[in-house]
């Protein structure tokens, strides 16, 4: 196997929004490479639809402080409030910066960035939804991703596309390099570097019904686990309430922002029961649970596992009247079909393509879908990766975006806050890494740089046990969906862990048919499966460990939030099948935990 060596100051792993923002800033002064298993424009940031949150106040009164409070409350008080304040106060500036880079936001009649309401974002005085999500049609993430990629091209950032990162190398506790497998050739590449920024996004592929891309398999968190580093708050994984039934394709909250409502089999707008004030725009964990309960109590459509999301103009207008919703100028809120078509073109297209229905004529069947990892690689406010609950920094290692856990989202992320998170902390990571490399020297590569990678490659290529990747994947998804999703119990989680342990054993006997070097994607998928199993395991374990209900983590056997014992972050290490937990207190600056009502 051929090995190529490159030398950089900063290596960014992942070409999504977080990685590209980091690269844009790092490459201003440092020699920077982006190593990504996909062409950057194919990253899942491009799937983000609804908008990016920032209290610009373009349409009505709004303040970063309100945004911060909503985020803290949305996080079920598990978010670190110093990080939350930092992010929300940075938000307007960074959205303007994106606009200056060319992001084509929609516009208000007077030419400013247009904003729409989104779940959990409220006017703190009235408790009513506020227009805070800055949007570019319903493809905000796509526009941000494209723009950041384009600006990187302009700046001459080096890209290594379709390179699959398999390992991170350390020298005396500092980052020394990154190992990647070039998909086109099967060669190995060792990037010697002073700093590495991990920005590889989420791992929604652990579940069956998911809004996440097939490539979101949590590779780098698994690498760090294997390298003896911890992960934080893995039990918190968000299920978005409105995925297209069975497929999981996301129907943005923006649909409800524009006035769409959730309807059960009896034709009731059931969110009135669960969130009397903001109703359909309650935060995601609340809505997802509501749908589960409706379904469980037999009020799913036709008794099935889904409800309707109704965005037909007549329905929207009916409930807007009932709610007394108004336009910015005070006139009653009333939409036409044309308006909705213009604001939600992609959603309408999805429904037509995959369901064969026109949402202007028929309601959309939806069910909760695995969506977003709140937990991940623990970092400081400066995006530095830490090795323990004492905030001990790993020199040269940074993480940003969905893969990281700062933690701004705590137990539940608000819509629009992830795009914000990736650009704010992507930028921080880029700046910090660039600053770090000016005074750090290039550490030597360890002698065994590629050993772990080679070993694993050999094992996968030559495995003869006869286990199929596809079988293990589908069994893993099944058990995660059954026991480690919206509702959890001790019994279920224990069963899940047993099953996952069995799958991990079987994984050792996996064999693949493709032995070639060129685009051996079967090999890559087998590798990804190993990573997913590790993450599934720590997710279930962390969920079993946390005996309370908070945000997205809902334990039926412990249905109350328990601030006494659990107002803290979970850190988990996994070493040779053995795990260890530790805890870090939540940073509270302004807002003491209260009961969360919407």
């Amino acid at each position: 196997m051929q090995v190529h060596t490159h030398t950089y100051d900063v290596v960014v792993i992942g070409g999504g929004g977080a990685g590209l923002m980091a690269a844009l800033y790092a490459s201003k002064s440092a020699k920077t490479a982006v190593v990504s298993k996909l062409y950057p424009t194919r990253s899942h940031t491009g799937a983000a639809q609804g908008g990016i949150g920032a209290a610009l106040g373009n349409l009505e009164e709004d303040h970063p402080e309100w945004h911060a409070f909503d985020t803290a409350k949305g996080s079920d008080y598990l978010g670190d409030q110093d990080a939350i304040e930092f992010m929300c106060y940075q938000a307007p500036e960074i959205v303007y910066e994106l606009e200056h880079m060319g992001v084509p936001f929609d516009r208000t009649p007077d030419g400013k960035i247009a904003q729409r309401p989104f779940g959990g974002h409220t006017n703190n005085k009235t408790g009513k939804p506020v227009r805070r999500a800055c949007h570019a049609a319903d493809r905000t993430g796509h526009m941000i991703l494209q723009t950041l990629y384009q600006q990187n091209l302009r700046q001459g950032t080096h890209f290594y596309n379709e390179f699959y990162v398999t390992d991170i190398l350390f020298h005396e506790g500092r980052v020394a390099g990154v190992v990647a497998y070039e998909l086109a050739t099967g060669d190995l590449h060792v990037f010697r570097t002073k700093a590495a920024i991990i920005a590889t996004g989420g791992w929604g592929q652990l579940w069956e019904v998911t809004s996440n891309a097939k490539t979101l398999t949590g590779d780098l968190p698994a690498v760090l686990l294997r390298r003896g580093l911890p992960l934080e708050d893995m039990e918190f994984f968000q299920f978005h309430p409105t995925g297209i039934f069975k497929l999981g394709i996301l129907i943005t909250e923006g649909v409800r922002g524009e006035g769409g409502v959730l309807i059960n089999d009896l034709g009731e707008r059931f969110m009135e029961k669960y969130a009397p004030t903001v109703k359909d725009l309650a935060s995601r964990d609340v809505v997802s649970r509501a749908i589960y309960i409706e379904v469980r109590e037999g009020r799913g459509i036709g008794g099935g596992k889904y409800v309707y999301l109704d965005v037909r103009p007549e329905t929207v207008n009916k409930y807007a009247r009932i709610d007394g919703r108004t336009r910015p100028d005070g006139s009653p809120y009333e939409v036409t079909k044309e308006e909705l078509l213009a604001k939600l073109p992609d959603i309408i297209d999805f429904c037509k393509t995959y369901l064969g229905i026109d949402p202007m004529e028929e309601p959309i069947p939806v069910q909760p879908t695995a969506h977003y990892a709140m937990g991940g690689i623990p970092t400081t406010l400066k995006a530095e990766v830490i090795r323990d609950e004492q905030n001990t920094v790993v020199p040269g290692l940074y993480a940003a975006g969905e893969v990281a856990c700062v933690s701004v989202h705590g137990a539940n992320r608000l819509g629009t806050n992830s795009l914000l998170d990736i650009v704010v902390f992507g930028k921080v990571a880029g700046q910090e890494a660039a600053a770090y490399v000016t005074h750090a020297d290039l550490p030597p590569l360890p002698a065994d740089a590629t050993d772990r990678t080679r070993e694993q490659l050999e094992r996968l290529l030559h495995g003869t046990g006869g286990e199929k990747v596809a079988d293990i994947v589908s069994e893993m998804k099944e058990v995660m969906t059954e026991h480690v999703s919206v509702f959890r119990t001790e019994e279920g989680l224990t069963q899940a862990l047993e099953k996952l342990q069995e799958l991990k054993e079987r994984y050792k006997r996996v064999s693949i048919t493709d032995k070639s070097k060129r685009f051996n994607l079967e090999l890559m998928e087998a590798w990804e499966l190993g990573n997913m199993l590790d993450l599934a395991y720590v997710t279930a374990l962390s969920a079993l460990n946390r005996t309370e209900s908070r945000g997205a983590h809902w334990r039926e056997d412990h249905p109350k939030r328990d601030d006494q014992n659990w107002l803290k972050h979970t850190f988990i290490w996994l070493e040779d099948g053995k795990h260890r937990f530790a805890y870090k207190p939540v940073v509270i600056t302004k807002w003491q935990p209260k009961e969360r009502v919407y």
């Binding site: 194919r42 303007y96 606009e99 060319g102 516009r107 091209l153 493709d514």
Partner: protein
Amino acid sequence: MKVTLKVFRYNPENGGQPRYDVFHLDVDPNDRVLDLLEMVKGYHDGSLSYRRSCAHGICGSDAMRINGRNRLACKTLVKDLGDTIVVEPILGLPVLKDLIVDMEPFFQAYRKVMPWFINNDPPPEKERLQTPEERARFDDTTKCILCAACTTSCPVFWADGSYFGPAAIVNAHRFIFDSRDQAAEERLAILAQEEGVWRCRTSFNCTEACPREIQITKAIAEVKRAILTGDLS
């Protein structure tokens, strides 16, 4: 329902010649072609190689020729195809393995049109203002996901790989008609070159192929007009 899936196979590494493999599958009419490929890869022949990621038509990974025309495998349902489905790589880019082609020439053309926002005035404190009408002017071409379905459906490109191709023009259009951008003139000069817009013979395959339903031929016509008249309205 039962379908016959015929897939183009090629792996030069095994000294192999291009061939077609046939699979008989039992599928749901609502399955995507991508689901069929995943089924084959998972349970019939793991060596089948193709790109994919988002699985719902927004990342642009899996453009391929399905029953003779370019589409995204993840956006094409079995029920719209009938019971014989032929899957081949997109045309005009070198095939590397099975359904995977070398995208580099495609991205080279993209990079040539300076596909990045340029405005060298010091930015205002807040956003640059733009009316909803000005914003709507270039909305259509912002939708591009760089899947290459258009460029590789273009009869001119099939014969002449140095033609910039519709995707590059679409991405130039996105900036040329953005009222905030200042480099329209340079981009138009690039597109007026020999391998630029004038090579387009309005064959229209591109517009038919675009999974984002971008009105590509119209965009190209608008660029041509802008080159001739200098009018960017």
